[in-house]
């Protein structure tokens, strides 16, 4: 493991911003800390960087202990060899792009001739080759972003950290930079930790996603895994869009399979589903169904019947975004664009049992 974070605790005053976080990243991999603002993800990142001290726990990079509260070890940030891309980019306004990027090499007393070569090389890598002589203040947001990245990788750090680097860019640039960032990270092959509140960003970039809430880890795993098998209601609602129905597990029908009884506005039905971890027969659970895993049919198709009324149907080009009222519950359904569902129409909903998951509430 290249980066190991164990039992991280960090409080501000009486608040525990980070409350026992542990994870590990293998060499060259990309891990994302995902969560809403205030969940402790940035604090975790700053603890790894050495800009915050820990109350408990330990941070090891490449087998070296950087911080250990118990061992009273603290390596100052400048001796950690970690590249950090800030949310504000933090490009020094009194220097040119090339000077910004050369700075980490200068403080490391690299040979001046080599500095020039490496700066040019890394500026080419991030696509700023023509901007070397510009002052930082003359760059656009996206270019500052690239310069910040160049400055973070130029000294070939052991670890690369990103603190919501794309959140200040507009949507289009953000989507473009996501792909770019992934390419550059692959090319330099540096182990990376990325902080974001944008689940789409996390899904695109990461090898591993760590979903956080209130200073704790809710789930960690690969993007597909987390999307398909959220550990609980919180993760399910945070990653992607899901229909979340409260109910009670009625029975198990096989290994990891069962039926959940859902009661909405007098309509009581049993739906076949997969059973997530920690779900027990007879206990309350939440059924999570992605909108693309529900079909809306004009004719009933077997039992149970979920008869509803189309409230809204928006044509998005590649799909039809529908809301269907069933009792007092509103289903989100992504239908095929060729289907023509109109508001007021009666439809029968059919959640796919293979992609319906009962999770702990």
């Amino acid at each position: 493991m290249d980066l190991e974070v164990r039992g991280l605790v960090k409080g501000f005053g009486s608040d525990r911003a980070v409350d026992g976080i542990s994870f590990a990243v293998p060499r060259g991999r990309f891990l994302t800390l995902l969560g809403p603002s205030g969940c402790g993800k940035t604090t975790t990142l700053m603890c790894i960087a050495g800009l915050h001290r820990l109350d408990a726990g330990e941070v090891r990079v490449g087998g070296t202990t950087y911080t250990s509260a118990a061992g009273r070890v603290f390596v100052p940030p400048e001796r950690r060899d970690i590249g950090l891309v800030f949310q504000s980019y933090a490009i020094w306004p009194h220097m040119t792009v090339a000077q910004n990027v050369a700075y980490p090499l200068e403080v490391r007393k690299v040979d001046p001739a080599e500095i020039g070569d490496r700066v040019a090389e890394v500026l080419r890598l991030v696509g700023l080759g023509a901007m070397a002589g510009k002052l930082a203040t003359q760059l656009s947001g996206g270019q500052q972003q690239r310069a910040a990245l160049a400055r973070a990788v130029v000294f070939r750090p052991k670890l690369l950290l990103f603190d919501e680097p794309l959140s200040n860019l507009d949507l289009k640039l953000r989507e473009q930079m996501r792909v770019e960032l992934k390419r550059i990270q692959r090319e330099v092959g540096i182990t990376s930790v990325y902080v974001t509140h944008d689940q789409a960003e996390a899904l695109v970039l990461s090898d591993t996603i760590v979903v956080m809430s209130k200073g704790r880890i809710e789930q960690q795993g690969g993007p597909r895994d987390i999307y398909a098998r959220p550990a609980n209601r919180y993760v399910s609602s945070f990653i992607g869009i899901a229909n979340l129905l409260e109910g009670r597990v009625a029975r198990a029908t096989g290994p990891g399979r069962g039926e959940i009884e859902v009661d909405r506005g007098g309509d009581r039905v049993r739906l076949a589903c997969r059973l997530g971890e920690g779900v027990e027969v007879g206990a309350p659970a939440v059924l999570s169904v992605r909108p693309e895993s529900v079909r809306a049919l004009r004719e009933p198709d077997g039992e149970p019947r979920l008869e509803g009324e189309v409230l809204q149907s928006i044509f998005l080009g590649n799909c039809l975004d529908c809301r269907v009222r069933w009792g007092d519950f509103e289903w989100k359904v992504l239908a095929h664009p060729r289907e023509r569902l109109r508001p007021g129409e009666r439809v029968y909903l059919r959640p796919d049992p293979e992609h319906s998951l009962a999770v702990p509430p």
């Binding site: 202990t65 250990s68 001796r79 950090l84 933090a90 980490p104 400055r151 000294f155």
Partner: protein
């Protein structure tokens, strides 16, 4: 066993990692700066409190503990009178400065008065000049016998009795009020400029006229700014030494500062009584400054919201020429007239209240400025050299200290940050003469007494908060991430300070430096307590000439000081911009 466990925990740690936790550049620098500030601020104040309870016996040799000094404050007729005079002067000066400052700020910020941009810097000039020199100038303008204005009245209109007389408490109020008008002006003009114009516009739409809107909406909204300015003027006037010393003390109008001065030096020196009087003055000013800082200043942000507004200007019509005349009148009376008068006086061998064209000569300038000449006046000429040394070293050291202290307060944010922030406000609460009294009783038995070092210490202690505020203002505007990214790039704290922090803060550092340079170059009330033979300063030189030589020589040195200060003001405006002083 314990040892072995620790070694295990430290395995693979870079060797210095463990030590650096305690002994990093940052922690050493901040600890040293914190101790310096703490000692510099708290020692003199502590010594002041302690010494105010020591009572000198009748022979003047021994002391015992007691409350006699405080009893004297109430019972001694002269001190009681000085106390009352101080309050009258401060109140009068505050009223005058507030009326002038608010009206000038309103004209400049909110009306279409012609030449507003040109007049603004002129309105601020008195802020940078020496009130002591102002008092000397007004003495030459309006002393009963030798005042230029009075002698003109005699010649032109044949009025024999003096028309004007500034050698009394009203003269003190007049000069102090005019000199501190820019303080009110600065506090008010900022809030007037930043005020949301829709607040006024909505009043106009309800049918309120211009005058009514101004009186019922505009002025109440800037009341916190006015109050802040007024309090600062009150406190500064109470601590002002030069003006009452020139216009009051020789004519029987003593104030607390002139009384403290007479107890600090001279034949009937009694440092303990002086300490008690300083305590009385200091407590009053500290309470007022505390009120301004903690109660009034925070409120200013709730009424004046937003930024980047361009308030609508009020069309004064024909009255705008009246407004212009009013503003020009202030500049004429506060700046042009006194300086011109001093210049005229300085060209005469002796001054009898009349301009004698045949006598005009630059001889006085040669005498006071050419310090290598044998006939130069030593205290004055030494003072010029000493003041430049003090101003240069003082401004540099104070800004270095201010930089580290600001860094501690706004970046490191360690456990001591709040305390340090408080310590930085404390010196502002005490007049220079009070703090100087504290420095005097603290260090009188140490080798630094009677050297330039004690002056340097007094200057820096009293005024480094101004530099600190200049830096802090810029520091708060510069993202902390710019510093952090340098650390992440591998630079140590010191390298980061040198290559990132200081270059980014350069405007604030330089503006603060020039401001302190100006303040130190004209400083009187600290110098007058702490100087001794050989360590006179520029203002002490002026004091010496005024006391022991004649008016023209005094005027010559005053003009020289004023010219240097005006040059510094131009530099300051170049680097600091319009409202840098409001901090």
């Amino acid at each position: 066993m314990d040892h072995a466990v620790q070694v295990g925990a430290l395995e693979g740690v870079p060797a210095a990692g463990r030590w650096r936790r305690l002994v990093s550049q940052e922690s050493v620098a901040t600890l040293v700066a914190g101790l310096i500030v703490g000692a510099a601020v708290l020692l003199p104040l502590g010594a002041l409190v302690l010494n105010s309870f020591r009572v000198l016996d009748d022979l003047g040799f021994d002391t015992r503990w007691g409350l006699d000094n405080y009893r004297a404050l109430v019972q001694d007729r002269i001190i009681r009178k000085a106390f009352v005079n101080t309050l009258v002067v401060s109140t009068g000066a505050t009223l005058l400065a507030t009326v002038l400052g608010v009206s000038l700020a309103w004209i400049n910020a909110r009306t279409n008065c012609p030449w507003r941009e040109r007049l603004e810097p002129l309105n601020l000039i008195p802020f940078f000049l020496s009130p002591f020199v102002g008092a000397i100038a007004w003495h030459n303008l309006a002393a009963p016998r030798t005042g230029l204005l009075n002698s003109w009245a005699r010649q032109l209109f044949g009025i024999q009795a003096p028309v004007l007389n500034v050698d009394n408490i009203y003269g003190i109020i007049w000069v102090t009020g005019i000199f501190f008008t820019p303080l009110v002006y600065l506090f008010v003009v900022g809030s007037l400029r930043r005020m949301d114009p829709s607040l006024e516009d909505s009043a106009r739409t309800t049918g309120a006229g211009l005058l009514r809107t101004t009186l019922t909406i505009t002025l109440p909204l800037v009341t916190p700014g006015i109050l802040s300015g007024a309090i600062i003027v009150f406190v500064t006037s109470a601590g002002e030494f030069g003006v009452p010393f020139k216009l009051g003390a020789p004519y029987g109008w003593e104030t607390l500062t002139t009384q403290i001065f007479s107890k600090a030096v001279g034949d009937d020196a009694n440092h303990y009584l002086g300490a008690a009087m300083s305590m009385a003055l200091g407590v009053i000013t500290a309470v007022f400054v505390w009120m301004q800082q903690r109660v009034i200043a925070p409120r200013a942000f709730t009424t004046v919201t937003g930024k980047g507004f361009r308030p609508s200007l009020i069309d004064l019509g024909g009255w705008r020429w009246v407004a212009l005349a009013y503003n020009l009148g202030f500049v004429f009376i506060a700046v042009v007239l006194p300086i011109a008068c001093l210049f005229v006086v300085s060209l005469h061998p002796v001054w009898e209240g009349e301009i004698i064209p045949a006598d005009l000569t630059f001889w006085n300038y040669q005498k006071v400025l050419f310090f290598w000449r044998p006939d130069s006046i030593r205290p004055a000429t030494d003072g010029i050299v000493n003041s430049f040394i003090l101003a240069f070293a003082g401004a540099s050291l104070a800004m270095a200290l201010a930089l580290v202290v600001s860094y501690m307060i706004h970046r490191t944010k360690g456990p001591g940050a709040r305390l340090l922030d408080f310590l930085c406000v404390v010196p502002i609460g005490f007049p220079g003469i009070v703090l100087a009294m504290g420095v005097l009783v603290t260090y009188i038995r140490t080798p630094i007494y009677a050297t330039l070092w004690i002056l340097l210490l007094g200057y820096i202690t009293r005024f480094f908060p101004y530099g600190q505020r200049n830096i802090a203002a810029v520091m708060l505007a510069v993202s902390e991430e710019l510093d952090q990214s340098s650390r992440m790039a591998g630079a140590s704290w010191l390298t980061t300070l040198r290559r990132i922090t200081i270059p980014l803060l350069k405007p604030g550092i330089f503006a603060g430096w020039v401001l302190l340079f100006i303040i130190f170059l004209r400083e009187l009330s600290i110098s007058i307590i702490l100087y001794s033979a050989g360590t006179e300063t520029l203002s002490v030189g002026v004091y010496y000439l005024a006391n022991f030589e004649n008016e023209p020589l005094t005027a010559a040195l005053s003009i020289a000081q004023t010219v240097v200060l005006l040059v510094c003001v131009v530099v300051f405006r170049r680097v600091a911009g319009r409202e840098a002083l409001t901090a």
